[in-house]
Subunit: 451 residues, 2 copies
């Protein structure tokens, strides 16, 4: 029942296209879901994709475009005349249409819009383009079924027949009053199972969650996830219903947000995929590597200041990688727990102070265990007691410092409304590497003069 | 319209509870959504939560339990008699009921099941307990509305009225034949808008995606996300309909999976939250720190072998942090891109060989740029040409090695059906630290003998 894309399938399809066997090629793809066809486009050349695309019927062709990755779609549409693009846009849901058109330059947007015959659709798109992409307004579609609270079920059904043509999936019917203010929802289940002369007012569910158009996408995702909603109505400042958000768009928000945080903690600065070109992948990765490089140079400078001590006690250098690595690891652990708590809104009511105290507890426990292990190791295998005491003391100190720093920085960024995920990964690692080194050399200097 | 939990609210509530003001406390929570009440429980003591819980009506009390975190629920239910637990379980959807009961010991499971009056519910739960938690069977609920393909819409509506009582949300009606084999779906929209004497057969949507009960959760999530489904039917080996999965459960799967991958790349081994106790947080973090510690000891041993060289050219030690950090950063970048591609099923048809060649291109680009920078730096600021050439050559080599290793390891783990996310974070960092050090010292020995 479910399509699985194989190498053989692609080879066969490319063969048909190469030989201009339109009918055979079309037969392979005609029954596939738009999402599957988009996946196929991803595996073939853009010219081959265009060869297939003209054979699809208008609705499906438009849906395939929506399923493409943003940059693929841009390349695909670039050579098409605005009139053709307008025909696709006309067939899309308003939210998808606004997303596609929003990627164009303003000039191109106007040109495409001027070719859209359906003036209601064009108006909806213009409305939606005004909202921030990352807000409820940017996620919502204008297509929805609304009924007046004073209608009977019979009137309601009649009206729904008219409206439902434009709406793909109906999960709820929204009930409004004469001023278009959202009063509640009506589940289709209830509608099906209630006698038809009942007034809408009497079966309405008034306990409806709605969001304002400027609610950030992350909050929309959080609300729909928390309350297990499949659709969420959007209202304006006067509580008038202006659109609805469906769960599939929110799933995308949740996934993209998670991918972004994952890439940030791994030191990747833009949204990339393994199938992107080597050039794009390089550009996404080199900024953090530069920071790492400058961190390394700074570390070399610090060590230069301790050249005398390192010359006298060369064994001290042996444990530099250990200290640096532990500082980095502890820092990333601490910061990622905070970043996740902030992202999922599960910080609880502990104050920053309480968080730091708890983190101090964790760091102390970890620090004691690990320092004792390294103390034991050096006590047995090293002939220098100064080294033994330096490494274990420094390790404990570095663990405490790195965990405080890893906890503190994201919390502070969040206070100042800066995305705390920016502070994870290579930033925390690099700072902790350097600070760890500094702490180690200072402690070493002290103990080696003592013992 | 939407509840926001504040410190003031909690303080007021705790005040009422402390003074045994049941009515006042109940008034505060009675209109809240179960998810909100669960959030409140998270902020108050377990005894205070129990004080509130007994006042909730049965259905809501049961729903609140489902919304609690697994470990909180366990503590909450521990002191309750099996009979009371059975009353809650009886009111839940079968999938939630199975999840809750699945957390008990087998003995306790049997005891609770024996108290469930509704034998159909008890039977459904026992069925569901047989499935792996991380499979379609583990996600599905048994409650669904099925109609026979030979019925008319009128019969269908009559039957639905009977069945719908047990089903919270109806998105689709499933159509089966006389052998219970899934034939298709019927959208409520279509049902509402078609004349009632039509046969189901004629308006059925046969193009339905279904999964087998043993399909892994990740694949279920991938399918529902890709095809924008809000509900997915589950069938047995004979294509007989046995349950359905709803999108809200899949959103949880997607979120939990992302959180897990994030924690793994950050070096955290179990699912923890910032609100967990210091003890749990320590246990989740110390395993990777031990690996880092042993890596550090290994690094110290390797450097011990080069003690002579390091004594002669102490400046070489200065760039050890740089080399180690860059190896770690590059390795994590490479592995995270592969892990994400594997997780989102977007690997394309490039062979492992092609992936490695592209990664080689990225690494070469990054390597050339960064080595040139460090070459320039040392050329200007260092008086040793041997050092200048050693650091830049080693950096280039380490970047190439780390990116190959970071790409290769997750791909190999995936080939052997081991979760590739295990290879991210501290593992890749530690191995690359050590290998980087080794490469650096070898190259250094070579060049310092030459120049």
């Amino acid at each position: 029942m479910q399509f699985e894309l194989t190498k053989e399938f692609i080879d066969e399809l490319i063969g048909f296209i190469a030989n201009d066997q339109e009918t055979e090629a079309f037969k392979l793809i005609k029954d596939l879901h738009p999402a599957d066809i988009a996946e196929i486009y991803d595996e073939i050349d853009i010219e081959e994709a265009r060869f297939l695309h003209v054979m699809l019927d208008g609705e499906k062709a438009a849906d395939v475009l929506v399923e493409l990755e943003e940059d693929d779609r841009e390349r695909f549409l670039k050579v098409l005349p605005s009139q053709t693009i307008a025909e696709f846009i006309d067939k899309l849901d308003s939210d998808d249409a606004a997303d596609v058109i929003g990627e164009f330059s303003e000039e191109k947007q106007e040109e495409v819009l001027s070719f859209i015959d359906n003036l209601e659709q064009a108006g909806d798109i213009v409305d939606l383009l005004n909202y921030d992409e990352n807000s409820a307004g940017g996620l919502m579609a204008k297509e929805l079924i609304t009924v007046n609270e004073n209608w009977s079920i019979t009137t309601c059904l009649k009206e729904m027949r008219k409206q439902a043509e434009n709406v793909d999936e109906v999960y709820y019917v929204y009930v409004i009053d004469d001023n278009k203010v959202l009063k509640g929802t009506l589940s289709l289940k209830k509608l099906l199972l209630t006698p038809t002369n009942t007034k809408i007012k009497n079966i309405i569910n008034e306990d409806v969650t709605a969001v304002k158009a400027d609610t950030p996408s992350e909050e929309v995702a959080h609300i729909m996830d928390k309350y297990d909603l499949v659709a969420l109505p959007v209202v304006d400042a006067l509580n008038r219903l202006i659109g609805r958000i469906t769960i599939d768009d929110v799933v995308d928000v949740i996934r993209e947000e998670a991918e972004r945080d994952y890439q940030l903690v791994s030191g990747i600065t833009q949204d990339v995929e393994s199938t992107d070109s080597a050039w794009i992948l390089t550009r996404a990765r080199i900024p953090w590597l530069f920071i790492g490089l400058f961190g390394g140079i700074l570390a070399a400078l610090i060590m230069g200041n301790y050249e005398l001590e390192l010359g006298l006690f060369p064994q001290m250098a042996f444990f530099i990688p250990l200290i640096a690595a532990m500082g980095g690891n502890v820092g990333v652990q601490s910061s990622s727990i905070i970043v996740q708590a902030l992202a999922s809104n599960s910080m609880g009511f502990e104050s920053i102070g309480r968080k730091l105290i708890k983190e101090l507890g964790v760091a102390t426990l970890n620090g004691i265990v690990l320092s004792m292990v390294i103390f034991g190791y050096n006590f047995i295998f090293s002939d220098s007691f100064a080294l033994t005491i330096t490494v274990s003391t420094a390790l404990f100190t570095v663990i405490i410092f790195a965990s405080m720093f890893g906890t503190f920085v994201p919390l502070i960024l969040d206070k100042f409304k800066i995305d705390p995920a920016l502070a994870t990964g290579p930033f925390i690692t690099t700072v902790n590497d350097i600070m760890g080194l500094f702490i180690y050399l200072m402690i070493g200097k002290m103990f080696f003069t003592f013992f």
